[in-house]
Symmetry: C2
Subunit: 241 residues, 2 copies
DNA sequence: TACCCATTAAAGGTCGTACCTATTGTATCT
DNA sequence: AGATACAATAGGTACGACCTTTAATGGGTA
């Protein structure tokens, strides 16, 4: 059902971390494609496929007749908002000590909005998981995850929910999120959010409304998230189409 | 200096619009690579390079042994925040009538923040351009663009600044933004912003702090932008690395 | 009839080589 | 000294062959 970690993906990751580790720091550009391909043990054809995706992510720029340049300013971005990252990793990347302060699970049924997001009939049984993550002990992220109840296979404990939600989805629901679409909005803290984040009412918060799809394009999970202001630097890399 | 619109880019755009126009709607997947390559008049090699980038953007999913699936739910997103779009187009895409309500130009010098963003010494002369864009007559986007004064070649009028800023940069500054890095923050309207957006103080606004780089990785332009809440649907597509 | 397993066709993934073309720097000629 | 021609570099494109993963098919057995 899910996509295997193909050779391409592995080498891609390998090349990316090599760049991040300053492997080619001397001239900030990659070796000639033919050379690099050989040193990675793959063909130039495959390498070019990898480079095409890295270029689209902004990490490199390929220029005909010149070479492949490493975009260090992109590589150095802490938190790329256009790349899916676990909350705890995100907090860690921002230089803070992450923790899951609380988890709450409850059953319910899909309201109009959830039904639309998950493409299920209104009233379908769902599970709600509320979590609060802290950075150095301060409230940083509050999220309410929702998944169709019939997908959950039971047998899990609260501790399973304190781990990244992807583990839970994979282990107990048999689903592998492949990509997500997330809507962003600025909001101000109401009484409830002010209490959760321990900030004055009216404080700004970043709201993300996320729907995760599996590789078949089926929505499998959605999440409403609030991010405290001032802890993260949410950066997005943009290029024209 | 800038990258030419290569054949690859052209065909890529052509293929993407064909998908958007529902060209392959019947089965929501692309023809076999060999067939598609032929019908596009290119080699399979080149096609695969194109597909790699389209896959990274979420528009398609390539599955070994299966085929190339079109992700209509991604294709249908109105405003992809991880893709650079002109403000006026953005407003139009959101179903509103765009207009530039006001433009103001002033000279100044780089403060600490601008200096860091543009990687120039503090105090370097700059030009500031403030613009207010409206959607159906209502304030939607307010931005303050900044560019190093020595880059501007003069000879422009206010009307040139009412056009998309990229025209100005290209025509009068000789720079071609290649990608940008944008930081996102939720903010609440202070007195000045409340006046500009004609909303109560304390209203939520989305703030984007953008730095544009040319193809050589040199910062050439930065912009501090505010988006009214409720007009746009800022969506970002995310995949794991 | 129902289920399991082997076969096979379809389609993306990888490889290798040859050649085209844009850039850049250098050497030469004026 | 400047302009022009040339050569080296490196990415872009093209074929054609073969590998590997999926999914469908069909036959055989319980």
């Amino acid at each position: 059902m899910s996509s295997q970690p193909t050779q391409s993906k592995t080498i891609r990751a390998q090349l990316l971390s090599a760049m991040k580790d300053g492997e080619f720091a001397s001239c900030q550009r990659l070796p000639r494609e033919s050379v690099l391909a050989e040193s990675l043990g793959i063909s130039r054809t495959q390498l070019r496929d990898i480079l095409a995706s890295l270029e689209r992510e902004g990490f490199i720029t390929r220029r005909h007749g010149v070479g492949t340049i490493i975009n260090r300013h992109v590589l150095n971005v802490h938190t790329r908002m256009d790349i899916e990252v676990e909350f705890l990793d995100m907090i860690r990347q921002s230089g803070h000590e992450p923790a899951v302060a609380s988890v709450r699970v409850s059953d319910g049924t899909a309201d109009e909005k959830i039904a639309a997001q998950l493409q299920i009939p209104k009233g379908t049984p769902i599970i709600r998981v509320s979590r609060l993550c802290t950075a150095d002990g301060k409230p940083a992220i509050y999220c309410e995850d929702v998944i169709e109840k019939s997908l959950a296979q039971g047998g899990y404990t609260i501790n399973d929910l304190k781990l990244p939600i992807f583990h839970f989805l994979q282990q107990f629901c048999g689903v592998n999120p492949y990509l997500d679409l997330t809507d962003l909005r600025p909001v101000v803290a109401d009484a409830a959010l002010a209490e959760i984040f321990q900030v004055p009412m009216g404080s700004p918060l970043l709201n993300m409304d996320e729907v995760d799809f599996d590789i078949d394009g089926k929505p499998v999970f959605c999440s409403n998230e609030y991010f405290a202001d001032g802890i993260f630097r949410h950066t997005v890399m943009r290029k024209k189409l």
